[in-house]
């Protein structure tokens, strides 16, 4: 039984089929990439997995449990975390607060106990400290030490991407969805990112779903790749298989005639 | 550590700043007597603000005549925006910083209720609130002297007039949903009960409402030949305009609040003619020497102001206080003035005869009945009349 699978996922917006009958399966702790030209429906698939869109048909199954129809926050609780294509961070908060929000589902502090955070031993403070330790590991992991108290809106693009990645990691997800993590990064940052994704796979033992345009990265780290175009699956396979597939070449470079 | 030191120093300095603290200042000295009034000068209730400005005229006249036993009157007006919280703030500031001997007038029932206790505690005299509600004068608050005839009495007298003189068969009541309108309604109902009649319709309005079609249609449907209204000028205007639109033309009777005929006739576009109102002051255009004197003074001191009923009321509310101050003699004290006020008998300025005793601080129970004639002239239908049904006189 596959760890995570998507079956016959379809959605239409106003008559236009954005995603049409897409299925795939991912083994536990593998990196699975989705590639395809802009507007081919990759992000829509992510949105359906994380519950922002309700698919017209199909199932999203995590560890034998169907996620379709659940609210996004419930899906997050089930262990699906994601990043967004055009960064959706909480701009008026510090990096630390953004990361701490990733711990939201693991924390319990309510209004009363939160308001009564008197001193280090109060329940809220103890919980807070405990989770801050976890966040500190992520900060170390992503080399964000110097930025921890900066406001996110003051960070450069590449760093924001990292913070978003960190926030998703803080959720301790089973499945991590990364939507174009390398967009807007320079070569050096991209190299780092590539390694981080590998490290995440090893250290955190999560299953990673990746949407990416940088082919170097995709081909370098993916275990399997799904190529789609116009919302329809072209091929799924190993990087080598996908790379050679004529339809993929055509979709990317355009038809030759 | 340096910061801590500096901070401690600043703290010490803060403690050393000598500042005046303590009780209320006395309200007068050898040169002046300080009198004050609150009243909305801005906000939705601002039209009532002319009451406070009106009192000023009387004080200016007195000052020009040399003051009271050598003391000039210093008069303060404070804008409270019709908000009791602000009234309390300005009253406290006036009493404790400026030192106020007495307050006169003062619009808004709620504002008065909020400061009533405070004024008593600080022994500040308050004469002639510009609102008549029972809570002010029953039970007696020793420093508070009411002049304004109670709305209940007024409504009762007007109802009697409607039934007995106008031979009204069907009377409807249109009132503003607050203390003012409700006490009017009660007075009217008491009289109706006495006459073994029933109101054919009672309809209410919120002070800010701008569309009264449904209320007027209800009144029309009731077939009332007399409608008594206990509302503010704006509501009355809209009511009359709407009634005229739907072809409803009863005899309108209203409280003295609407007895400013030139204003009412103007803003209703002439519909006010023929409306009967109560009145607690001489007609503004009457020619008694006192009124003439005030009118001349107003032209001189405040040419911008319109000589209207509210403005006149400001003078009226202050008259008994001036009288008592004069009588109290050069040795001024709160007690002396209180004594004079408490023994005031049938004092009459431009308002109703005012009588106070230590047990009854409601100074007046009479109103006149007037009618708006052509060109906004005042036609007096009935001279000062008392309400023989008034319960408070019997309580004693």
């Amino acid at each position: 039984m596959a760890h995570f699978k998507v079956e016959h996922l379809s959605i239409a917006f106003g008559g236009i089929r954005a995603v049409n009958d897409v299925s795939f399966e991912i083994e536990h702790n593998k990196i699975f990439s989705i590639i395809g030209p802009n507007g081919s429906g990759k992000t829509t698939i992510f949105n359906m997995i994380s519950g922002i869109y309700k698919p017209n048909e199909g199932e999203v199954v995590l560890e034998n449990e169907n996620l379709v129809g659940l609210r996004p926050d419930t899906i997050a609780r089930k262990g699906v975390a994601r990043t967004f294509q055009n960064i959706q961070l909480f701009g008026n908060a510090t990096v630390m607060d953004n990361l701490m929000l990733g711990r939201h589902i693991h924390m319990k502090t309510g209004i009363v106990s939160g308001a009564c955070m008197w001193g280090k031993r109060s329940r809220a403070a103890r919980e807070e400290i405990r989770h801050r330790e976890v966040i500190e590991h992520i900060i170390d992991f992503l080399d964000l030490q110097s930025l921890r108290d900066q406001f996110v809106s003051n960070l450069p693009y590449g760093k924001r991407k990292l913070v978003e990645l960190g926030r998703a990691l803080a959720l301790e997800p089973k499945v991590l969805l990364l939507d174009e993590p390398s967009a807007g990064m320079n070569t050096e940052e991209k190299d780092d990112l590539r390694i981080w994704i590998k490290d995440i796979q090893e250290d955190y033992k999560v299953t990673i779903l990746l949407i990416e345009h940088d082919m170097n990265m995709v081909m370098g780290i993916s275990d399997r790749i799904l190529a789609i175009n116009q919302g329809v699956k072209i091929i799924e396979g190993t990087p080598q298989e996908v790379q050679k597939h004529p339809d993929v070449v055509a979709a990317y470079l355009g038809e030759e005639d | 550590m340096k910061k801590v030191l500096v901070a401690v120093m600043i703290l010490c300095a803060a403690f050393l700043i000598p500042m005046a603290a303590g009780a209320a200042k006395p309200g007068f000295d050898d040169k002046e007597i300080r009198i004050a009034q609150w009243g909305p000068q801005t906000g939705p209730a601002a039209p009532w603000g002319s009451v406070a400005r009106g009192s000023d005229i009387l004080f200016k006249i007195i000052n020009d005549e040399g003051g009271i036993h050598g003391r000039k009157i210093k008069y303060f007006i404070r804008d409270d925006q019709y908000n009791p919280a602000q009234t309390k703030a300005v009253v406290k500031e006036l009493v404790e910083r400026e030192g106020v001997f007495a307050f006169v007038g003062g619009v808004s029932a709620a504002a008065g209720m909020a400061v009533k206790g405070y004024l008593a505690e600080n022994k500040v005299i308050w004469v002639g609130p510009a609102t008549a509600i029972n809570e002010y004068v029953f039970p007696v608050q020793p420093y508070l002297f009411g002049i304004y005839p109670l709305y209940e009495d007024e409504a009762s007298i007007l109802t009697k007039y409607a039934v007995e003189k106008l031979k009204a068969k069907k009377i409807a009541f249109f009132y503003q949903n607050d203390a003012y309108g409700k006490s009017g309604l009660e007075g009217c109902k008491a009289r109706m009960a006495k006459l073994k009649m029933k109101l054919v319709e009672e309809s209410s309005v919120e002070p800010g409402e701008k569309d009264l079609s449904s209320q007027m249609l209800r009144l029309k449907k009731s077939g009332a030949d007399v409608v008594i209204m206990w509302v503010n000028p704006t509501s009355a205007t809209i009511a009359l305009k709407t009634a005229s639109t739907i072809g409803f033309k009863p005899q309108w009777i209203s409280s003295n609040t609407l007895s400013d005929y030139p204003l009412m006739n103007k803003i209703t576009g002439g519909l006010w003619e023929g409306v009967i109102t109560g009145a607690f002051a001489l007609a503004p255009d009457s020619d008694t020497p006192l009124l003439k004197k005030y009118r001349e003074a107003a032209k001189k001191y405040a040419p911008e102001e319109r000589w209207g009923t509210f403005y006149m009321a400001g003078i009226l509310f202050a008259e008994p206080l001036i009288e008592a101050l004069k009588k109290a003699g050069p040795k001024l004290s709160t007690e002396a003035v209180l004594k004079q006020l408490n023994s005031m008998k049938k004092f009459q300025g431009i308002g109703p005869p005012v009588t106070w005793s230590p047990d009854v601080h409601q100074g007046s129970d009479s109103i006149m009945i007037q009618k708006c004639g052509p060109n906004s002239t005042y036609i007096t239908l009935q001279d000062w009349t008392t309400n023989e049904l008034a319960t408070w006189k019997k309580k004693k």
Binding site: P156, D191, I195, M215, M219 | -
Partner: protein
């Protein structure tokens, strides 16, 4: 015709364009290629002055010998530059006709506008059919044609297109490119941002390759087509590993 010299554009604290320069000759179709976030769209927006008031921060832009880097968008449109933005950006609740009319907003000659509308409708028969429909209800390809038609209404000398093939089927893409070529043959210079490299290279006379806010290659399409870098760029056929490799220095600096 258009010469861009050393322009730098900033988004708040992020430098999006690191001083790029290029020139476009009259009558050419020029393609601007590059990956997502490379700065292609920013370049076009900078030329149109659609960004904040003080952008570009450095450098000059000249069009037909006139400096336009401090002009209002409206004046630039009047001078003869027209822009078809990424994702078409038609006015969804306006009809097709109204959309086309808006393209001629800066023009005053009624007769000329009328004739041009006729011309556009003739050129795009599908738009003529749907002239009274709301633009939001058109399909992607139709919207793209509408956006191009609308842009042509200002009688541009330079037409800038941002990813005209985005989200279109191969057949439609071909059609769009045919239209672009036709427009070009009628004398309009074209600056094209495109991801569909093959198509772009096939139709263009010259191409620039952008990366991280810089122009990294500039050459004729024939040359670029055979270039391994371009292939690697779009297909990830790695020919070399990056210098940094898999080694990474992780500073284990701790707070405590």
């Amino acid at each position: 015709m258009l010469s861009v010299k050393n322009i730098e554009t900033w988004y708040d604290l992020i430098r999006a364009l690191h001083g790029i320069s290029f020139e476009i000759k009259q009558g050419d179709i020029v393609a601007l290629l590059g990956s997502n976030g490379a700065g292609k769209t920013t370049t076009l927006k900078t030329i149109m002055r659609l960004l904040e008031d003080d952008q570009p921060e450095k450098g000059t832009i000249e069009f037909m010998g006139k400096r336009i880097d401090r002009m209002d968008t409206e004046e630039i449109v009047r001078l003869g530059i027209s822009y078809v933005p990424e994702g078409r950006e038609v006015f969804p609740e306006l009809t097709v006709m109204e959309n086309i009319q808006m393209g001629a907003y800066t023009r005053k000659d009624r007769q000329g506008i009328k004739d041009d509308i006729e011309g556009i409708l003739k050129q795009f028969p599908i738009l003529s059919e749907r002239r009274n429909q709301q633009a939001g209800h058109l399909s992607g390809g139709e919207q793209q044609m509408l956006a191009i038609g609308r842009a042509l209404m200002s009688r541009p000398k330079l037409l800038m297109l941002d990813e005209p093939s985005l989200g279109l089927s191969p057949l439609l893409t071909k059609e769009i490119f045919a239209i672009i070529q036709r427009i070009n043959q009628e004398g309009v210079t074209i600056l094209l941002v495109e991801q569909n490299v093959n198509m772009a290279l096939k139709y263009s006379h010259y191409a620039f390759l952008m990366e991280n806010g810089r122009i990294v290659r500039a050459d004729k399409p024939e040359v670029l087509r055979e270039d391994d870098d371009v292939k690697e760029f779009y297909l990830g056929i790695a020919t070399e590993t990056s210098a940094k490799g898999y080694k990474r220095y992780r500073r284990k600096v701790r707070f405590r």
